[in-house]
C-alpha cells in the first residue's frame, strides 16, 4: 500500500538499509539476553493499536443510541453536543467535505473534521481508545469505544445509524478523504544560492504588530 518516496533517503536505504535488515538483524540467538520474554497477557494489556486493515480491532459492539449517550456524557463538554466543536476551541469532529479543504474553494480556514479529513475510520477507534476522554484515557470499554466511533461516523453520514458498530462494520467504512493524501515530495523548493543582486526591490509585506504575543505572566499558564 505504502511506497517509499524516491529520495536520497530511500535510495541510500535501498543500497545499505535493506541489507542490514536481512542479514545483521536476522539472528535467532540473543547476544546479551537482557530482559524477559513478555507473556501474551502482558503484551495484550498494552497492545491497543489499530491499523486501517482492521488488525488490532477487538471484539465488541455498540449502537448509535449508546454512542449518543456516551458522547453526551464523556465528550460533548469539549467537542459540543453535536460534535461540531461547540463553538469553542476543541476540534470539531463532524461536518465538511474534502472539497472544502481546497484554499480556492474555501479561502478562510480549512474545515478539518473526521468526516472531511481523516483518511481511515480505524484511526477513530484507535484514538478514542488510547487518548480519550481527555483526562481519563483508556477508561472506556471496547463496546463503548465502538458505540462512540459508530455515532461519530453516522453523524458524518459514513455509517448507517440503524446498524451496530463493530470490527466488521468498521472495516467496511471508506472515508471520503482516503485519496486526499500523498507522500512527502520534499525537497520541493529550490532556492538558487544567489549572492549578488538577487532582487531589484524588496517590500515589507507584514509586520508583527498585532499585539498577540504574550508578555509577563500571560506567557505562563
Amino acid at each position: 500500500m505504502y511506497k517509499f518516496p524516491v529520495s536520497k533517503f530511500a535510495l541510500g536505504l535501498a543500497l545499505g538499509g535493506f541489507l542490514i535488515t536481512s542479514q545483521a538483524f536476522a539472528g535467532d540467538e540473543m547476544k546479551y539476553g537482557f530482559g524477559v520474554k513478555p507473556s501474551d497477557e502482558e503484551i495484550a494489556g498494552w497492545d491497543i493499536d489499530i491499523r486501517p486493515d482492521g488488525k488490532g480491532l477487538p471484539e465488541g459492539s455498540g449502537t448509535y443510541d449508546e454512542g449518543e449517550a456516551l458522547f453526551a456524557e464523556h465528550c460533548a463538554a469539549c467537542h459540543g453536543d453535536f460534535a461540531d466543536g461547540g463553538g469553542g476551541r476543541y476540534p470539531p469532529l463532524v461536518g465538511g467535505t474534502p472539497g472544502e479543504l481546497s484554499q480556492a474553494v474555501r479561502p478562510g480556514q480549512p474545515h478539518k473534521t473526521i468526516g472531511s479529513y481523516w483518511p481511515y475510520a480505524s484511526t477513530v477507534f484507535d484514538y478514542i481508545k488510547r487518548a480519550m476522554p481527555f483526562g481519563n484515557a483508556q477508561s472506556l470499554t471496547n463496546d463503548e469505544v465502538y458505540a462512540i466511533t459508530g455515532w461519530l461516523l453516522a453523524e458524518n453520514d459514513l455509517h448507517d445509524s440503524d446498524e451496530p458498530m463493530n470490527a466488521e462494520a468498521l472495516k467496511k467504512v471508506v472515508m471520503p478523504n482516503v485519496d486526499g493524501f500523498f507522500d512527502d515530495p520534499r525537497p520541493d523548493v529550490k532556492n538558487p544560492h544567489c549572492m549578488k543582486d538577487c532582487f531589484k526591490t524588496v517590500e515589507i509585506k507584514s509586520k508583527a504588530t498585532l499585539g498577540v504575543t504574550p508578555t509577563g505572566e500571560d506567557a505562563l499558564r
Partner: protein
C-alpha cells in the same frame, strides 16, 4: 525528598517565576519607553553603547570601583547551599514561555525555549522546549517497562536497568517541533524570537541505539514499519520506517549528562535525529514491528500538510534546513551604531550545515557568515558575522545551506508551492527589521 517538600519547592519555583515575570514586565516598558522616547533616537542609543549599555548595566555605584562590594568581604554560601545547582538569581527571566491562546489546555500545549538568551549549541535541560499532548507524567523508574514485540524473532520486555546494560552511545542532536514558526505561515505574527523560533532545542542524548536492539532481537523478514508508543495519557503513537530506526535512532535515558527530565520523557524516550519532534516519542513503553504503517491520529489528522488544492502531504518526517539570527532580536535590540556581532543558529535534518549567509538588505545581496564552534550532524550550529551598523533601517536575514546543497528558501517560494494552509515545516528565511531606534521587529518581505 518528601511529597510535602516537593510541593513546597514547586510552589517556590512558581513564586520565583511569577516574581521574575513581574520584574520583567516592569523592566520591558521602561526599556521600550527609553528607546522610543529618545528624541535624538539613534544618538541616545549610541550614548547607551558608549556608557556600556542599558540602565541595567549602570549598576549600584557602591559596588563599583573604587568601592569594594559586600561580596568581596563576606563569606558566600557553603558548598551544599544548593545541592542541585540553579541559575543565578539575576537570570530569573530566562525561562520557557507559552502562548496560552494557541491551545485550549496547558496539558496539550507547547512551551518555547528562550533561544534569545542562550549561547553555544547545547540547550540546558530545564529550558528544552516542551510539547505534550496529555500532560507530562512522573513515572517511577522501577515501574517502567519497554515491550518490543510484533515481527521480531525474540519478543522482549526490558526494565530501565536492562536497557542501561546495553552498549551505550551519546550523540548531540536538535529536536524541533514541525510547528516551529507555524504561526508565521500567513504573515508576521509573533513579536519575539522566543515565540517565532523557540520550538527547537539541542542536547547530548545518551542511550542505546535501536539498531543494537534490532540485532539482539532479530527482525523478521517483511517487517518495514515500527509503531513507537508513549506511556503518557495521550498514548502518543507514530509509525516510523524501520530503516530510519536501524540507522541512527536512539532509545535515550540521559540528556546532557543526567537522566532525562520528566517533561522530556523520563525515564526513556526515542530520539529520531533530524525528523519531526513529535516522532521522538517520550515516556516510550512499546515498539511494535509490523509490515504496514498504522496511520494514527498524529500522522493523519495532525502532522500532515494541506496544500493549496486541498491535497495533503503525509509522512513529512524530515526537518528542513533553517536558520535564525538570535542577536540582534526583538528581545535584545541594537545598543548603538558601530560594531555588532550578528549571531545565530542554523540546523538541518539533512545532515550538517555547510554554511550561512547574511543579508542586510532583505535578500538582495548576501555575505558569508562564519560557522562558530562545532558543526555536528543534525545539531544546532552557531554562526557569527562581524558587522558595522550605520544606524540606518536594515532588513536583516540569515540563509543556511546544508551539505546536500539545499538552500533555505524564502517564504514566497514556500507559499508558491504550498499555499498558506500549512501549519508545519515553515523553514523560511526570517527577517528582522532593525529600526533606527535600535529596536528589532519581526517582518515578512517579498523580493522581486
Amino acid at each position: 525528598m518528601g511529597k510535602q517538600n516537593m510541593d513546597k519547592s514547586k510552589t517556590n519555583s512558581r513564586v520565583i517565576m511569577a516574581q521574575a515575570e513581574r520584574e520583567s514586565a516592569q523592566l520591558e516598558p521602561t526599556r521600550r519607553a527609553f528607546l522610543r522616547g529618545s528624541a535624538a533616537g539613534i544618538g541616545a542609543v549610541a550614548a547607551m553603547g558608549a556608557t556600556g549599555g542599558a540602565a541595567m548595566a549602570a549598576g549600584n555605584p557602591e559596588n563599583l570601583p573604587p568601592n569594594v562590594p559586600e561580596w568581596s568581604k563576606m563569606l558566600g554560601d557553603s558548598v551544599t547551599a544548593e545541592p542541585y545547582g540553579i541559575p543565578s538569581q539575576y537570570e530569573k527571566n530566562v525561562h520557557r514561555r507559552t502562548v496560552p491562546w494557541l491551545t485550549p489546555t496547558g496539558e496539550s500545549s507547547i512551551s518555547f525555549t528562550p533561544i534569545q538568551d542562550l549561547h553555544g549549541i547545547i540547550t540546558p535541560n530545564g529550558l528544552h522546549f516542551e510539547r505534550h499532548h496529555g500532560g507530562f507524567p512522573h513515572i517511577p523508574k522501577e515501574d517502567f517497562r519497554l515491550i518490543v514485540h510484533g515481527m521480531v524473532k525474540n519478543e522482549r520486555m526490558f526494565t530501565l536497568q536492562d536497557l542501561m546494560r546495553f552498549p551505550q552511545v551519546s550523540r548531540i542532536h536538535f529536536v524541533e517541533c514541525p510547528a516551529n514558526s507555524g504561526a508565521e505561515w500567513r504573515g508576521a505574527q509573533m513579536d519575539k524570537l522566543q515565540f517565532t523560533h523557540g520550538m527547537v532545542s539541542c542536547c547530548e542524548w545518551t542511550g542505546v541505539k535501536v539498531s543494537t536492539l534490532m540485532e539482539e532481537l532479530g527482525v523478521k523478514p517483511g517487517a518495514k514499519w515500527v509503531l513507537a508508543e508513549g506511556a503518557d495519557a495521550a498514548g502518543m503513537s507514530r509509525s516510523i520506517p524501520i530503516e530510519k530506526l536501524g540507522d541512527d535512532c536512539i532509545l535515550a535515558y540521559a540528556q546532557n549528562g543526567e537522566m532525562l527530565r520528566p517533561e522530556q520523557g523520563y525515564p526513556l524516550r526515542l530520539i529520531v535525529p533530524g525528523f519531526e519532534g513529535n516522532m521522538n516519542v517520550k515516556w516510550i513503553r512499546r515498539l511494535e514491528f509490523g509490515d504496514q504503517p498504522w496511520h494514527h491520529r498524529e500522522e493523519t489528522s495532525k502532522y500532515t500538510d494541506t496544500m493549496y488544492n486541498g491535497k495533503s502531504r503525509r509522512f513529512t518526517w524530515s526537518m528542513d534546513t533553517k536558520s535564525v539570527i538570535t542577536s540582534p532580536c526583538p528581545e535584545y535590540p541594537m545598543l548603538g551604531k558601530g560594531y555588532h556581532q550578528i549571531r545565530g543558529l542554523a540546523w538541518t535534518g539533512a545532515g550538517k550545515i555547510k554554511g550561512v549567509d547574511i543579508s542586510v538588505d532583505g535578500g538582495k545581496n548576501w555575505m558569508p557568515a562564519r560557522l562558530e564552534g562545532p558543526v555536528f550532524n543534525k545539531a544546532l550550529t552557531r554562526f557569527v558575522f562581524d558587522w558595522e551598523w550605520n544606524g540606518q533601517e536594515v532588513l536583516l536575514q540569515s540563509r543556511a545551506y546544508d551539505e546536500t546543497g539545499y538552500v533555505q528558501p524564502t517564504i514566497d517560494q514556500l507559499r508558491e508551492i504550498r499555499g498558506t494552509w500549512s501549519i508545519y515545516h515553515n523553514n523560511s528565511i526570517h527577517t528582522w527589521l532593525v529600526q533606527k531606534s535600535g529596536e528589532v521587529l519581526n517582518v515578512q518581505v517579498s523580493g522581486k
